[in-house]
């Protein structure tokens, strides 16, 4: 499965490079390549395997000899392996019973001594930024 994927990616690169060389003058050239990146198959406890696929759009901007590359995740899919409809429904439903489920309710309890909550916005922002960067690095 991995082999097939690498071949496809190499094919795209081989097509892209001659185009880039031909326009290496001072002119601005923008190339975009969209490709799917499969994560490793992960064992989802006893339910089988899960594999995440990211669709990443790579934009290469060339001005003269200067080249910048930007990658952007455009979608995230979680196909289930083996790709069988009945089994994927089964897995999607059965992954929840490990956790108890309730409906969110607002409680006003005067006997509470301390409250656990998220820290300041700037800290949450750093958390979010970190997670985004981790995700991009993994893409």
């Amino acid at each position: 499965m991995n082999k097939a994927r690498i071949t496809v990616v190499a094919g795209i690169a081989a097509l892209a490079i001659p185009v880039a060389n031909a326009t290496a003058a001072a002119k601005k050239k923008i190339l975009t390549v969209t490709k799917s990146i499969n994560g490793p198959q992960a064992v989802a406890d006893r339910w089988g395997y899960v594999q995440v696929t990211l669709v990443v759009k790579k934009t290469t901007t060339i001005v003269g000899k200067h080249k910048t590359v930007k990658r952007r995740i455009t979608s995230v899919n979680v196909p289930v392996y083996p790709d069988h409809a009945d089994r994927s429904v089964f897995i999607a439903q059965q992954s929840l019973p490990y956790l108890t489920q309730e409906v969110l309710q607002a409680q006003f309890d005067p006997n509470i001594q301390m409250v656990s909550g998220a820290t300041a916005t700037s800290f949450a922002f750093v958390q979010s930024l970190q997670s985004a960067l981790v995700a991009a690095k993994k893409a």
């Binding site: 956790l99 489920q101 006003f108 309890d109 509470i112 409250v115 820290t119």
Partner: protein, 232 residues
């Protein structure tokens, strides 16, 4: 670290050593102070081998936590910033100082992350109603850390989906160490809805409660309940 730290001791005074400790942590780990060891490390003016034992221990544990969270807790993602672990870790150490001074009934709250000894009644902040709590935990000797994007009504937007961290309002983690609980909560919040369900269900030694944007509250079976459920 720029956050309120509340120390409450029921069976004695709060020793000065606790406040000295938090001052020392700030001097060593602050990313805002140019003279902190972390700042020296960030600028490359200090090698890790020459850092003090506390800094080496913290960074070593952060590397382990990166592996335990499948890469979602990553102190190197925005320069070197171990603050997400240091807060809880420093509270764990402060608790040891209190224990050494003979305290057996205390709670330390550092910016919403709490470590207690004895029985305390703790609310988990409701992510949408500032005056309410979503859940009440009443337990002995607990560490509880919450990560979310709702403080003061501002939601942190995920740059990919433009939603609050991919369907999650907050994640609360309890367990034997506050530093680890805090790092786990941070990582789980970052994973997004799909990731958080699978990952928290596989946690060992720690329990998690996740509040989803669709109003569902998902908890691991061992998550500490309020007294009504626990005592009946």
């Amino acid at each position: 670290m720029g956050m309120p730290i509340v120390v409450e001791v029921r069976d004695g005074d709060v020793p000065d050593a606790v406040f000295d400790w938090f001052g020392q942590v700030d001097e060593t780990f602050s990313t805002f102070k140019e003279g902190s060891e972390i700042s020296w490390l960030r600028r490359g003016e200090l090698g890790l081998d020459d850092a003090c034992p506390d800094v080496r221990d913290v960074l070593h544990r952060c590397r382990e936590l990166r592996a335990e969270t499948e890469g979602w807790f990553d102190v190197d993602a925005v320069g070197l910033d171990p603050s997400g672990y240091v807060k809880g870790w420093s509270v764990d150490r402060a608790a040891a100082i209190l224990e050494g001074a003979g305290a057996h009934e205390y709670a330390i709250n550092a910016g919403g992350d709490i470590r207690t000894r004895g029985r305390w009644r703790i609310g988990i902040q409701h992510p949408r109603e500032p005056q309410a709590v979503a859940k009440v935990v009443e337990a002995d000797d607990v560490c509880i850390a919450t990560s979310g994007g709702y403080e003061r009504g501002q939601h942190v937007l995920d740059p990919f989906t433009r939603a609050g961290s991919a369907g999650i309002l907050s994640v609360t983690v309890t367990g034997p160490e506050l530093g680890t609980a805090d790092a786990y909560a941070t990582a789980a919040f970052a994973m997004g809805q799909r990731g958080v369900i699978d990952w928290t269900a596989r946690l060992r030694g720690y329990e998690a409660l996740t509040i989803l944007a669709d109003g569902r509250v998902l908890a691991t079976p061992g998550f500490p309940a309020a007294s009504r459920a626990a005592r009946s």
